[in-house]
């Protein structure tokens, strides 16, 4: 570095200019801020050219983004060099590879007629960013101040280029981020779309299902119901959401339903079916067949109950109608004469028939023995005849009961006949909890009548009375049989009960055939009883009691005086016979 001898005024001037130039250079960053590297270099070289009155300024560096080599050349207007850019680089090779900061003077006759001072300016501390090479006409280029200006400019440029690099990197990252966000958003949108489609599909199933679907929480409160279910019950969705299924289930089915739910919640079963009745909003009933299951929970939704509800009202009604028709048919079949007759005969005849067969079998064995047991066999034969007669009696009695033939009358005492009947049925009555009381008239006149038939009537009345009391628990089941010689000179027998009683209308119709107030009654007994009593010139009637229950009575004429004494001989030992 040459120390120039100048006078102080010139020195001051020179320094002043230098400072001005420095200030311009220091303003460069403000100019090139935000620019790309190439622009920065352009601005730098232009500034250098102008400030230092250079012939040319050349820069070579790597593009920080593409890492491709970049060359920029600025030539002064007054420069007479005509070398094109791409040759310039080759021309300055030795300076471009130079490290360090020492200046070199170029060979002067390189460039046509001009001698140019060439000076390299590294960018970056080690020149890693690039290299600037400047050329000046002046032989003493660069001076102290010019060196200073060059290094300050180079420094600024280095910083600027670094910043530009960072800016580019930032932009790149921002773009990458944007790209990823866009990608992600598109993915989410697609997933959302798919979810919506799926939701719509299931929603449609729920809404349009041909069975009722009801979702409830574990307490049975409705969470959601489909239109079919709502319509089936006549409630809106909101109304249902304030109810539990227990509120709308028929009380007859409630216990069973609760039991099944409990088992379901306890894990003892996966699902259950129940046939039950719901009560609609308007109070009417609907029969349903429900399939109920627990739907397991997810991380967002706790588990809940799902019921698939099929309306089976129509089926149930027709089932009920069918059952009713069937039971009617059975009832009618039972009460037809043939049915009753067959049952009676079968049972009553079976006994002596069984005896006959047994006795005959015994006889056979006895006669087949060696030696034959003739006495034993004879006894069996006698028994057989007895049984045969018994069977015959049964037929006769049955015929009498079911035919319109004249009864076989005898002179008889109703008290005695009654006692015989109650003897047979007392145990049955006792088992039914019936207390029997007798209010017999001890001086009851005799009547003329068919014993068996009248006993049938009495039996019928007793059975009816017992049936009428069969559902009574709140008071004693008392049956009073009363006989009296009434004010119309008739023998009257009454059976009074404490049963369910009789309406006046029923009292009229009750003696008609097939009329019955009982669900399994035969409805024949009283009409036959009436036929029997009327065939005895009597009458039969029923009255509700003043208290609970009813009284059934029949009355018939007394046996005429005189006949009674003669007829009664049949039942007492006949002295004439004994003597014989």
């Amino acid at each position: 570095m040459h120390l120039q001898e100048k006078d102080p005024a010139e020195e001051v001037n020179r320094l002043q200019c230098c400072i001005n130039d420095l200030i311009s250079l220091l303003a460069l960053p403000a100019i090139w801020s935000g620019n790309e590297p190439r622009q920065i270099v352009h601005i730098l070289l232009d500034a250098l050219l102008r400030v230092l009155r250079l012939e040319f300024a050349y820069a070579r560096l790597k593009d920080p983004v593409t890492t491709a080599p970049m060359e920029v050349l600025r030539v002064a207007d007054t420069c007479k060099l005509t070398v094109p850019l791409h040759d310039f680089g080759g021309m300055l090779t030795s300076w471009l590879e130079h490290e360090g900061n020492s200046s070199l003077r170029a060979a002067r006759n390189r460039f046509e007629e001009e001698d140019i001072s060439i000076f390299p300016v590294p960018l970056g501390i080690q020149g890693e960013i690039g290299m600037v090479v400047v050329g000046s006409e002046r032989a003493d280029f660069p001076s102290q101040t010019e060196s200073l200006l060059l290094s300050v400019a180079a420094n600024q440029a280095s910083i600027g280029l670094r910043e530009a690099e960072l800016l580019i990197e930032q932009k790149r990252i921002a773009n990458e981020l944007d790209r990823r966000v866009t990608e992600r958003t598109a993915e989410l949108a697609a997933a959302n779309e798919e979810l919506k489609r799926s939701e719509e599909r299931w929603r449609s199933v729920f809404e349009n299902s041909a069975v009722g679907v009801a979702l409830t929480d574990l307490n049975g409160r409705f969470i959601a119901t489909n239109p079919f279910y709502q319509k089936m019950l006549g409630y809106t969705e909101q109304e249902l959401q304030s109810l539990t299924f227990l509120d709308i289930t028929h009380q007859d089915d409630l216990d069973h339903n609760l039991l099944l739910i409990a088992e379901l919640l306890a894990g003892e079963r996966q699902q259950f079916q129940i046939e039950k009745q719901y009560r609609r909003k308007d109070g009417t009933s609907v029969w349903v067949w429900n399939n109920v299951s627990i739907v397991p929970g997810t991380e967002r939704v706790p588990r809940f109950l799902m019921a698939l509800s099929e309306d089976i009202t129509l089926r149930k009604l027709s089932e009920e109608a069918l059952a009713k028709a069937r039971s009617e048919l059975t009832r009618v079949a039972r009460i037809t004469s043939l049915g009753v007759l067959t049952a009676s005969i079968a049972h009553e005849v079976n006994q002596p028939l069984s005896g006959i067969i047994t006795n005959a079998s015994t006889c056979l064995r006895m006669l087949s023995a060696d030696p034959p047991n003739v006495d034993g066999a004879l006894e069996t034969v006698r028994r057989t005849i007895r049984d045969g007669n018994r069977a015959s009696d049964v037929i006769t009695r049955l015929r009498a009961l079911y035919s319109k033939k004249e009864p076989s009358p005898e002179c008889m005492d109703l008290n005695e006949a009654t006692r015989e009947v109650t003897a047979l049925s007392s145990s049955e009555l006792q088992r039914s909890g019936v207390i029997l009381r007798y209010e017999f008239d001890d001086d009851l006149p005799a009547v003329i009548g068919d014993r068996v038939q009248l006993q049938q009537v009495i039996l019928n009345l007793l059975r009816n009375a017992a049936d009428a009391m069969s559902t009574i628990d709140v008071r004693p089941r008392e049956l009073v049989i009363r006989t009296e010689h009434d004010e119309e000179n008739q023998v009257r027998l009454s059976v009074k009960d404490t049963g369910v009683g009789l309406t006046p209308q029923a009292a009229e119709k009750i003696f008609e055939a097939f009329y019955t107030t009982k669900t399994d009654g035969m409805g024949i007994g009283l009409s036959i009883s009436r036929s029997i009593v009327e065939a005895h010139q009597g009458r039969i009637w029923a009255r509700p009691n003043d208290g609970p229950g009813a009284t059934f009575s029949f009355a018939m004429p007394c046996a005429p005086e005189g006949i009674a004494d003669t007829q009664s001989g049949i039942h007492q030992t006949d002295p004439a016979k004994d003597a014989a």
Partner: protein, 131 residues
């Protein structure tokens, strides 16, 4: 027709017949005697229970439908008392449900009146073998 008083040792198996029907009570002992059994007849379940023959009876021939205590009820009562006897039910009624129930409860046989002597004998043999 044999009958045993309480206290004497039976030499042949004792069959007790409980039926409210006279024909049955009259005819069965003869046949049972021909089979080689001793027989006793009772007209009601109560009569049988209070007879003192319960312990000695090897087989019970029992009518189903009887006033007061029925055949099935007697069967139950004996079971309850721990005095079960091999039982043959005889009845004039055809009632499948009783039949199935009774057979389930360990009744040896179920005969419908009128029954043949062969059927009766077979039933008795079955009952006595099961004992």
């Amino acid at each position: 027709m044999e009958s045993h008083q309480g206290g004497s040792v039976p030499t042949r198996p004792l069959l007790s017949v409980v039926d409210d029907d006279e024909s049955v009570r009259e005819s069965l002992p003869g046949l049972l005697g021909e089979f080689g059994f001793a027989a006793q007849v009772f007209s009601s379940a109560e009569e049988f229970l209070s007879s003192g023959c319960v312990g000695e009876t090897s087989c019970l021939i029992l009518d189903i439908a009887m006033p007061a205590m029925s055949g099935p009820e007697l069967h139950q009562e004996l079971k309850r008392r721990g005095q079960e006897i091999p039982t043959i039910f005889i009845t004039g009624h055809r009632d499948e449900t009783i039949r199935v129930r009774m057979l389930k409860q360990g009744v040896a046989a179920f005969l419908l009146k009128p029954f043949s002597d062969a059927d009766l004998l077979a039933a008795i043999k079955t009952a006595l073998q099961a004992a």
